[in-house]
């Protein structure tokens, strides 16, 4: 009994440490965003700004088109997530349910492709998009994001599909359900958390992506948030810290909101109610 209690306490302690580790940079970012310049240079920084100000936010919005950039990022990330999931879900189902040498090779290729550095593919990609007249356009960037996140999305979804017992489909067939009906009424609800998690992954990947956006988008009104954030940085890493922190804080909010809204879907019982009594 005592052993179990101490184990539980240890688990909670580890969890708290992990949460502190994860939360510290974000909380520091929030703190910095509200500090006036003179507090940023303090030898004894405080968590709570002594003289909190919204000046950094005002300056950030005055100097950079943050709102337009956020809308561009949102459009690119949502589109990429949606398209990636729509394409990846049926592919994942086929790869999971019909295991062949081809699907094994495809899975291997998916994993290997994740190791490619951006710099390796950017020039050919740029040339292809240029020929398609998709350079300096959000559709071009969305296309890249879909292609970039598709392998991992596929890999994730294959795992989720495999976790759904095949017996459920067989039971549905015995009950007289058609193939389509089985997919829609039996498989889809059970797969939903996985699809949502995959969409979230694709969204966050696209939302945070910097290099492709930097290279592919030239006109200021099309640039995404990560690119605009770098406009607060000078040569050799010098930064306009206050406005940068304010803008970066705002940039993290959509991801947090999206995650907060759908996290229950992700953690919701994966196969709750799946097995007939």
């Amino acid at each position: 009994m005592r052993t179990r209690r101490s184990t539980r306490a240890g688990q909670y302690l580890a969890l708290v440490c992990y949460l502190v580790f994860l939360a510290f940079p974000f909380l520091w970012l929030v703190s910095t965003a509200f500090k006036p310049p003179r507090e940023l240079g303090s030898l004894h920084p405080t968590w709570i700004p002594r003289d909190p100000t919204l000046g950094n936010f005002r300056q950030a919005f005055d100097e950079q088109p943050l709102l337009e950039a956020a809308l561009n990022s949102l459009l690119a990330a949502l589109s990429a997530a949606l398209i990636a999931v729509v394409i990846a879900t049926p592919m994942a189902y086929v790869m999971a349910r019909h295991r062949t040498k081809l699907s094994a090779a495809a899975t291997g290729w998916v994993v290997v492709s994740q190791a490619f550095p951006f710099v390796l593919v950017i020039i050919p990609l740029f040339l292809i998009l240029k020929n398609l007249h998709l350079v300096n356009s959000l559709p071009g960037l969305i296309t890249v994001y879909v292609v970039w996140s598709l392998p991992f999305a596929l890999w994730m979804l294959v795992g989720y599909v495999r976790a759904v017992p095949r017996e459920l489909e067989e039971a549905a067939a015995v009950d007289g359900a058609s193939r389509l009906r089985t997919l829609v009424s039996v498989i889809a609800p059970l797969l939903a958390p996985g699809v949502v998690a995959t969409a979230l992954f694709a969204f966050i990947t696209a939302w945070n992506e910097f290099f492709f956006a930097l290279v592919l988008l030239k006109t200021p009104e099309k640039q995404t948030l990560p690119v605009v954030l770098t406009h607060f940085l000078g040569a050799e890493g010098v930064a306009d810290l206050g406005p940068l922190a304010a803008a970066a804080f705002l940039a993290t909010l959509p991801s947090l909101v999206v995650f907060a809204l759908i996290q229950k879907r992700i953690t919701g019982g994966m196969t709750a109610g799946a097995v007939k009594g």
Partner: protein, 435 residues
């Protein structure tokens, strides 16, 4: 004959392609239907005053030149090399390119940048000193116009300086390196809590090499064939040994700041922990903005050796893409953009020094306030950074020199091991680029 599902797929793909193509703007450049030229100018200006100055100058140009419109594109220092390389390869580079001279070598040798020798107007050519042009000369050609530069200076806590009674250096009479070492000792608390100097050496190579010129250190030497090789002389050891001894022997320099960037040292500087911090001239903007109420600071020239207060710099540059069909017009814009009054405006916006001799005479750049006068007095001693035209330098710097200097400064290796690594390992790297 396609089956129905296949037909549907093909139709969907075709529609999607049309839709995507319709959404894009093609990104073409050149002449409009009415014959007007549009030049794209990618600027890396980032501080508000500098961005404003850039945009105002572009607007002024556009108002006066309706037939040659300049489109301002806000670039980013972050990943600028990769971004430009991709643009060059894809034939989509901006016509006018803002960069730094130490980033131009690969682009110049790669044929991506236009040789400006036949395009440069006499006014601009004569306004910028020869040592400025040397920073953008690669082989026979000139591939950029250097326009802003910054020396490395000592930013000192004036109160500590006054209380110590040490001689305050001037551009005419800077401290020698041994004198600097002695004074740093005097300004140290000796208790391990306050230090005479804080060296922010996250990037130790450029600081060491550029300051090393004052002591006669070249490190890179060229033989008769023009091949570069690393040789470590007594002059190269002066700066490196000073830093090493201050950290490890005198304890007059903080070991904690060796891995920091310049901005990271400012809280300690404002808090009186460090009496002096060697920083780029433009850091004054951050200091002016962040210094606590009543904090007094002073700009001092960097220490000098036998060669005087000479220093290596990599100025910011404006170049023209080789692919640009309107090189003449692009140079006309650069000439306008870098008129003396405009160059001074840009320098003030970035808290840097102009390369042009006429702009440097601007009274605003000669004022004692914020150390402008000290910087202006150092301008004539700024020469090309020793390594910037050496092919293979970036790899030498990242793989050999940075870890070697970092380990030497922290006391992990001795001077002999530093020399061995820089020279022997370094020349192996350079040899691959000069076969």
């Amino acid at each position: 004959m396609l089956k129905k599902p296949a037909r549907l797929t093909v139709t969907a793909v075709a529609l999607a392609s049309l839709l995507l193509t319709g959404c894009s703007d093609g990104g073409g450049r050149g002449r409009d239907a009415d014959g007007r030229i549009t030049l794209r100018f990618q600027s890396l200006a980032w501080q508000k005053e500098s961005v404003d100055a850039n945009k105002e100058l572009v607007e002024e140009w556009n108002a006066a030149h309706p037939e040659v419109r300049v489109e301002y594109v806000h670039g980013s220092w972050d990943s600028v090399h990769d971004q430009l390389l991709t643009s060059f390869e894809g034939g989509e580079a901006p016509d006018i390119i803002h960069d730094a001279s130490d980033d131009l070598a690969d682009f110049a040798y790669g044929g991506y940048l236009a040789d400006l020798r036949k395009l440069l107007p006499a006014r601009l050519r004569s306004d910028i000193p020869r040592r400025g042009w040397e920073t953008t000369t690669f082989g026979e050609g000139v591939y950029g116009v250097p326009f802003l530069q910054e020396p490395r200076v000592l930013i000192a806590n004036e109160k500590i300086l006054e209380e110590s009674g040490v001689r305050v250096p001037t551009p005419e009479r800077p401290w020698s390196w041994p004198e600097f070492r002695q004074i740093a000792k005097e300004l140290s608390g000796g208790d391990g809590k306050t230090f005479g100097v804080a060296w922010p050496l996250k990037d130790p190579v450029s600081a060491t090499l550029n300051l090393g010129l004052s002591a006669g250190g070249q490190l890179f030497h060229r033989d008769e064939d023009g091949r570069a090789e690393v040789r470590f002389t007594e002059g190269d050891a002066v700066v490196a040994d000073t830093v090493h001894d201050q950290v490890n022997t005198d304890r007059s320099a903080s070991a904690a700041t060796l891995g920091m960037g310049g901005s990271d040292t400012l809280p300690g500087f404002f808090g009186g922990k460090y009496a002096m911090v060697p920083l780029g001239f433009s850091y004054r903007q951050q200091i002016a903005q962040q210094a606590p109420e009543g904090f007094r600071w002073k700009v001092l020239p960097a220490p000098a050796g036998d060669e005087g207060p000479v220093q290596g710099v990599s100025p910011q540059t404006l170049s023209i893409a080789e692919d640009s069909p309107y090189k003449k017009e692009a140079m006309e814009f650069i000439d306008f953009f870098l008129q003396p009054a405009n160059m001074a405006r840009l320098a003030k916006g970035d808290w840097m020094l102009p390369t042009g001799t006429a702009a440097l005479k601007d009274p605003a750049l000669r004022t004692e306030k914020d150390g402008w006068a000290t910087g202006a007095a150092l301008a004539e001693h700024l020469v090309p950074a020793p390594a910037q035209s050496v092919r293979g330098y970036p790899e030498w710097k990242d793989k050999v020199a940075t870890p070697a200097y970092q380990e030497y400064y922290s006391g992990a290796i001795d001077a002999e091991e530093l020399r061995k690594r820089l020279v022997e390992d370094g020349n192996l790297v350079l040899a691959r680029y000069q076969r």
